[in-house]
């Protein structure tokens, strides 16, 4: 009850670069899963390796990341993932 509410979303991808089935990959073709965590202040997303045969996501295999600050970047145009220390966020999304 006291915890800050967080909204989680996710989206699958077949590869790291766009291809014709990037929008709607079939389960067997999913290789990456993007997990998003949203609070009032930010949206933090990790795109991690995903194994469709056992439905496991590997958070040690990070393909890319996104971090947008709501206050200064409400339209999510300026990804600051790369140049910020985000160990705390990484622990939180886990």
């Amino acid at each position: 009850y006291n915890e800050e509410p967080v909204a989680f979303s996710q989206y699958p991808r077949p590869a790291d670069t766009p291809q014709w089935n990037s929008d709607k990959p079939k389960l067997k073709d999913i290789r990456v899963m993007g997990y998003s965590m949203r609070t009032h202040d930010y949206r933090y997303t990790l795109w991690v390796g995903f194994n469709p045969s056992n439905f496991s996501a590997d958070f040690k295999d990070v393909h890319a990341g996104e971090l947008y600050m709501v206050e200064s970047d409400p339209h999510q145009d300026y990804n600051i993932y790369n140049n910020t220390l985000h160990g705390g966020l990484f622990k939180k999304i886990l």
Partner: protein, 427 residues
């Protein structure tokens, strides 16, 4: 003896609504519902694509538990025999009925909209649904095409009507029938628009002259966007009017004029949807059910209208995952019902001038996966227990806590905002 439930779910509707601060759209009937409801400004889908989102909120489980990330598996066979929200109401004495697109049709709902588990009677699908992707759009050449942008003369359409018009008519018929039989009901109505093709009665174009339509505020692919995050909007590329543009893959861009036409037609489709919702709510009033029926209004996910150089859903961006979410609960969010006056008189999008006053707004971050537990609590049913870490063998539990506690959250006085402008937009 428990409230009735009218659950309205809209396909691909982002919060392009007056009650969410959008200044361009004409959505008087949904705004009127909002004025009698608690409106959640920050509600998000678990995945920005139809079937996974719908199975998630209808079972109260996240996609990693339904194991549905595409359209090709049925959770009861593939993941676990999870009870659904309508099934739970059915097991608690409700007549549960589905009209239109509630579950995504096909494999993911066992080609049956999960009937008979979820529904008391076979779900209704409009007879004209099957023409959705046919060549019914008249092009500049006078021929019929399967276009993305598709304002139509309804009288020229197969059977002279459209799926959402038929859904509204059937839902009103069912309301009358259940009132007569004094049956407690859970009626789910799933509208197709503004899902593509953007096919709607052409008169709605008058509401949105093209000169008033701008591009998205950020119509370029962000420099630091990881390529894996980008959605190449493959589905709209397959529409006839997009194909002829020969837009390069994956980043386009679409010609600016066509971008504005898509945005214009999305807005027009939203006003067409608003008319359907207005007709349905007006009937709820006329039949005398609006003081004994709670109304939930939401969508399965949002839709990119050119932001980040993207169209459609299929991403983790807020524009693709954020949805409208509001709850009208007689006697709780609105006292009007007790005064015996009409609560939801039909408002004509072509003539009504917005005078929106919101009763209550919550800015809490909430998720569609909480719908099951929230509706159970509002209806006075036992709230399903929280799922254990692994719940594949648990038939009834939820991965989304009820959000009724936010209806009157003390630390956040329910906003009484005059112009409906939304903090999330202000941010």
């Amino acid at each position: 003896d428990g409230m009735n439930v009218l659950f309205i779910v809209v396909d691909d509707l982002r919060p392009v609504l007056g009650c969410y601060g959008d200044k361009l759209v004409k959505s008087p009937n949904i705004d009127q519902l909002a004025s009698q409801s608690v409106v959640f400004s920050n509600a998000y889908a678990q995945q920005a694509v139809c079937a996974p989102s719908r199975v998630s909120f209808l079972t109260g489980r996240r996609p990693d538990t339904t194991r549905l990330y595409d359209f090709y598996s049925y959770w009861r066979v593939h993941a676990g025999n999870y009870s659904t929200m309508p099934q739970y109401f059915k097991e608690n004495g409700y007549v549960t009925v589905s009209v239109g697109k509630v579950f995504h049709a096909g494999v993911s709902s066992n080609y049956s909209d999960d009937y008979p588990y979820s529904w008391s009677i076979p779900p209704f699908h409009p007879s004209t649904e099957k023409y959705e992707n046919d060549k019914t759009c008249r092009g500049k050449d006078g021929k019929l095409h399967a276009n993305l942008v598709c304002p139509v003369n309804v009288t020229e359409m197969p059977s002279g009507t459209l799926p959402d018009i038929q859904s509204t008519e059937e839902a009103i018929r069912l309301l009358r029938s259940m009132k007569t039989k004094k049956q407690k009901f859970f009626l789910a109505v799933g509208y197709h628009k503004p899902h593509i093709p953007l096919r709607y009665p052409q008169e709605f174009l008058k509401l949105y002259p093209l000169e008033n339509i701008t591009l998205a505020p950020d119509p370029w692919v962000p420099e630091r966007l990881p390529s894996v995050a980008y959605n190449p909007w493959t589905d709209i590329r397959q529409r006839d009017d997009v194909k002829v543009l020969n837009v390069s893959f994956p980043y386009g861009p679409l010609p600016e004029d066509f971008q504005r036409q898509i945005r214009q037609s999305y807005y027009a489709a939203v006003s067409y949807l608003d008319m359907q919702v207005g007709r349905l709510l007006n009937a709820l009033d006329d039949i005398g059910l609006s003081n004994s029926t709670m109304v939930v209004f939401t969508a399965d996910h949002g839709w990119s209208l050119g932001e980040h150089g993207e169209w459609a859903k299929y991403s983790n961006f807020d524009v693709a995952t954020r949805v409208p979410l509001m709850f009208y609960v007689p006697g709780m969010t609105s006292s009007s019902a007790s005064q015996g006056k009409k609560i939801f008189p039909y408002l004509d999008p072509f003539s009504h001038v917005s005078d929106l006053v919101l009763q209550g707004r919550s800015k809490k971050m909430v998720e569609l996966v909480s719908l099951f537990s929230t509706l159970a609590e509002l209806a006075g049913l036992q709230v399903p227990p929280e799922c254990p870490e692994t719940s594949f063998s648990v038939a009834l539990c939820t991965e989304g806590a009820s959000i009724v506690r936010y209806f009157n959250s003390s630390e956040e006085k329910l906003e009484k905002e005059k112009d409906g402008f939304d903090d999330a937009y202000r941010g």
